[in-house]
Symmetry: C2
Subunit: 781 residues, 2 copies
Amino acid sequence: RKFYGYTGLTLAKWTITITIGLLVGLIAFIIEFLQEFIITVKKEWTERLLDRGLWLVFFNYTAIGVTLVLLSSCLVMFWAPAAAGGGVTLVMAYLNGNDIPDFFRHRTLFTKILGTICTISSGLPIGQEGPMVHVGGAIASELTWMHGRSLTRERNVPAPQSWWETWREKLRRLTPKAWIFDFYNDKDRREFISAGAAAGLAAAFGAPIGGVLFSMEEASSFWSRKVMWRSLICTTCATVTLSWLNQRRFSFSLPGTISFQGLKPEFDIIDLPLFVVTSVFAGVIGACLNIIHDWLAQFRPSSKHRAMRVLEACLVTFISVAAIFMLPHHFGHCLPIQKGQEGDEFWYRYTCPLPDQETGVSYYNDLASLYFAVPRQTIQQLLALGDAGDSPFTISSLSIHSSSFLFLFILAYGIAAPGGIFMPSIMVGASFGAFLGRIFQVFFPGWSVQPGMHALVGATAMLGGVFRTTISLVVIMVEGTGGIEFLLPVILAIVLSNWVAHYIHSAGAYESDLERIGEVHFLQSEPSQKFDLVSARDIMASDVICFKEITSVTEVVSVLRETCHNGFPIIRHTHDPDAYNPDGQLVGVILRHQILLLLERRAIFEADAATLNLPMRHGAGLQLPRLTSKQRSLDRLMRVYHHVHYPHRRYLSSRPEAVTELEIDELLQEFAMPTVNGSSSNTNLEEGRSKCEDVEQAANHSGKELAIDFRPWMNRAPLTVRAETSARRVYIIFRTLGLRHLCVTDASNRVIGIITRKDIAKAHREHMELEIDPDTPKDSA
Amino acid sequence: RKFYGYTGLTLAKWTITITIGLLVGLIAFIIEFLQEFIITVKKEWTERLLDRGLWLVFFNYTAIGVTLVLLSSCLVMFWAPAAAGGGVTLVMAYLNGNDIPDFFRHRTLFTKILGTICTISSGLPIGQEGPMVHVGGAIASELTWMHGRSLTRERNVPAPQSWWETWREKLRRLTPKAWIFDFYNDKDRREFISAGAAAGLAAAFGAPIGGVLFSMEEASSFWSRKVMWRSLICTTCATVTLSWLNQRRFSFSLPGTISFQGLKPEFDIIDLPLFVVTSVFAGVIGACLNIIHDWLAQFRPSSKHRAMRVLEACLVTFISVAAIFMLPHHFGHCLPIQKGQEGDEFWYRYTCPLPDQETGVSYYNDLASLYFAVPRQTIQQLLALGDAGDSPFTISSLSIHSSSFLFLFILAYGIAAPGGIFMPSIMVGASFGAFLGRIFQVFFPGWSVQPGMHALVGATAMLGGVFRTTISLVVIMVEGTGGIEFLLPVILAIVLSNWVAHYIHSAGAYESDLERIGEVHFLQSEPSQKFDLVSARDIMASDVICFKEITSVTEVVSVLRETCHNGFPIIRHTHDPDAYNPDGQLVGVILRHQILLLLERRAIFEADAATLNLPMRHGAGLQLPRLTSKQRSLDRLMRVYHHVHYPHRRYLSSRPEAVTELEIDELLQEFAMPTVNGSSSNTNLEEGRSKCEDVEQAANHSGKELAIDFRPWMNRAPLTVRAETSARRVYIIFRTLGLRHLCVTDASNRVIGIITRKDIAKAHREHMELEIDPDTPKDSA
């Protein structure tokens, strides 16, 4: 329907987009609120116990932390394993075109939200940004599916009885049919999930533009202006919702997570080398973090040993909490609380002397205040360090904080609990930058060094070193901190850290993670230069299993049992009968799940052996008598049925066992089927959809065989490339069209190979490592 | 060579990127400086003449303006026609894959810079942002070509004589050969031009991130993380250079063109409806501007009548300057100069009473101050309107300014002089927004309405309505104004204005312009939904002209004369001799300029009639005797020669007359060529490059014909699609791979059609207009 120039479909898309935004904002608020609530309760509890003895406090503190992580990691390991870690990596993999089992299910979403709250409030150096991206994607996925399900469920209701159902029936008729069919394809889902992921990050940082750019630059592989536009709406909704919930009133001001004040945006050319030093150091730390994480990954228990993973998580938590508890005790400095900080509950006592009754001076432990506060507040404090004389943190405390936090971060990064690495990276970078800034202050007293600026530069450079993202990080930092005046130092930090980090370690955190996950084949947006020198011939798999246009069921079933291939080229019989399989010209491609559906729906007929071996020409071959009238109905079913009714089935269908579930063997054994009612009421699309069994051919079965005619359902326009095509072009075609397989043909259009996502990813990985001397180009002759 | 992990090629690319950034920053500074200089001189002159009588001032003022525009439009019309207008549209078209003649030449660049300075300082409502994008692209193009030329020129120097030349020779040997060959292809040029365009916009607005995003969202059709990264470096260099030149000292602060202060970033929910009103109104004005501009375009003289175009420009200038001069005289209000504005030379007298000697109060004409100042200062003043009581502009002046400026803007938009529409759009929007804000102030006195906020919202919404850009506009506005606190109102304005404007007029300013330029075929990033219902068969051209693998020169030449096709499929003779042209299988594709080069280099041989009609099989046919040894040299030449040596030739070669220039007719007539020296010194690549004439076959010519063998040079892996492929997929393949033609084949790989960029663009335009009822999907049966 048209509604002011928009069709109902467009309207529905906008509704879903806005709903995603609102929900993501709400969930972000819940996570933040609960997390701060738990941390505050913990803190109050600790403070109350402080007089009763330090050991009691320690026991209490660690017990709470370990319990929280135990809960979260048990949920993850025994209920929803896909919820572990940050989730950004898998969102990227999904949006790149991989199927990730269970990644967007209810239980994963629930575990992610609850687990993140528990993990963060336990005191582990873990952030909520990565999980928010996953949650955003999951909500988007949820909304698209829910819609699809409710619509299809409605279709199964019996005839309307009450006025209510009649009315609902009418309403349903109003809905354009196109909805269900144009809506739940991969492309639309991907777009919604891109928008959801953007909203998640936007809500986490209070950065609507940054979220969109992150989704574009890092998370999404397919992008268009439409998606950008939709993501922008979505992130705006999420940010406004969060801002409204946080302030309990509508406001236009940004919730900018780590907004800071107190810095002067004035720097001179003499500050430049200092910024360079900070950026380079932070970039190096970021790159080293990735290297160490990669190296540590081999020592961690594999995810098969669930109990071990849980134990690991608890152990890491214990170490972290103990360190957080002990370090301030041993190394913290007790400083008097400054004027203007009085009201702030953030600075509190912990092993420091009681407030001096005479002078009215209270004391706080600077290291404890760095460690015990909500991480966001700590970062705010670090970034706000101006060039004023009295710094709230001593140099030694900053050095201990940055190094110990880095150590704990490395330990915690990779445990079996939900949690992201954005916030800890910022924390390490900011702490390290502030430390360097303080040192510069001491060494160059006349230069008016602002440690807060160095904290900002350090945090940015650290993120740059870890993630290797460019534009989106700049915008996130600018939006998150609200400091547009600091744009140029931020850009400088990003550029330098990227350069330095790239020299140390070529892959960013997400890329390394993607490489470590074996079953995911991630295609970067650009193939490596060396792919130019390779042709399609070199990367294709040449053992292609093809079907003829009409193939016996026995053969089809045995092939499906033996292989896991997802697509099968259909070849034509040439007119000379001796030319068989290898000589056949490619006429189409059929997918595995299409064949399974055909078998399930018994869209098979009996053919005698002569038909099966009959030489056939295109269009002149055997025509199925009644199929033409129903072809469209089954055709439509073929396209959408599987996705709508079995959302989690597509990846299951690639198992060889899937064939068994169709009970096709019984059919083959019985093979004695009476004629089903012929052309009864198959004009009705709805009924034709629900029972297609009458497609089965009525025939007597003397000397005949069951066969499938693939022609009506195959994709008759498969994209093919020639064997001489450069691998680079193949890669780009694969990437931009989101293909799963691509047939390689010779000049006569005969199939000589097939290229799958796996082949490309494998070849790319191998050729990346292949060293080709740039001085000897192709023509060394 | 490797240099800390980077090859020389990469290093060269970085050098070029940074150089582009620096140059763009420099040119932006020159344009701004000269323009402000001229305006200031004009203003001082006017002020001095003010006492001598108004008519003298008027004459003087208009004479200067008309002279400036006369200069600029004469330059454009008689020397460099490609420099007219903003240029963003043509940059977009170029980056989309079109060839724009003369667009990136020296004279165009020079005219653009000089013309922009003249046009802007004449007082026309025209901005420098669009031209800066063009200038950035042109500089990038210039740098890539210059490099290529100098390298190739060096190759022609004779043997080294002095120590200097020997040394230079050695240096040249050090340069990896890959440089020239991997560097001047379309892809690399496009990437540099993308970065240059980004730098141009960044310099114009002082918005490094906004520039990158603009280049990504609007200007560039091909984008990758690498390009983004490079553009970021480029924009940063440009911005820093500009900032340094402006402030005469190194500074990290942004040069943000229209940065403003004085607004409070506090708004309440009651402000929301007011913002909505402003956004919607401004969006509507923006869309109407496009409609009126489209409508007016038919009345303007065509660009063939050069004198008429110049006259038009002068007339428009006269009207504009006269209006600017007369309006303040008749409608301006004389207001006393406030405290704090004293030092600002911006507010000056003009028909107002002389300063009151007793009270010391000076007066200024508010409308004159809006009109006469440098546009940027006016915008700053408008955006800085807080909710303080005394506004520097009266409501009536604002209303007259906004409406008259809009009128003059429409007149000036489209004249034959360089100039962009960014700044006038902002001006109209800001003026209109400020007007609305003042009205709101009057009507809702208790609401603390800030007219400056409405000016900001209005300017943003106006841009949104005119350009339909989203993210990049948000970032440009935020960076340009330096007001991150106003992010959410800006987003709101963009979203609302886009929605409203889309309902009124579907295409943005750039899209309308692209449609109006006939010879450019611009492919949007996404095909329209309706393209799903069409197949490749419906959009292809079926009159394909194919060549056989070995074709007689006579036939080739006559085909080249008769058609303008750019690519020719090469077909194979099938083994049954009666199957001829339409039955041949596709074995390759050869481009027009490749054929021209083959002819120019006389890479032809004599063949008897029997050879020409010989049935041939792949690889078993006639082998050219000496060609194989030189094949690689000529092959390499074929790839790069044309681009490197004749930068502006590629589009020329598509004229049928290009064949004549090769003097091939003389060759065919003479046809009596003695044998050229056979295998003399053709091992030397350099020499082989400069004289390839000896490829010509030595033969006696009794009953023989000259022929070309295309096989060694054709692209042996042409991408093909089947006729059943959906047009949507064809579109995406075309767009992402930047193809120029795509062969359509049947199941036997025989060519049945060809799709060119033109076909796609035409079909897309037609199908966009085709109304398909969404309620009757494909299966209406």
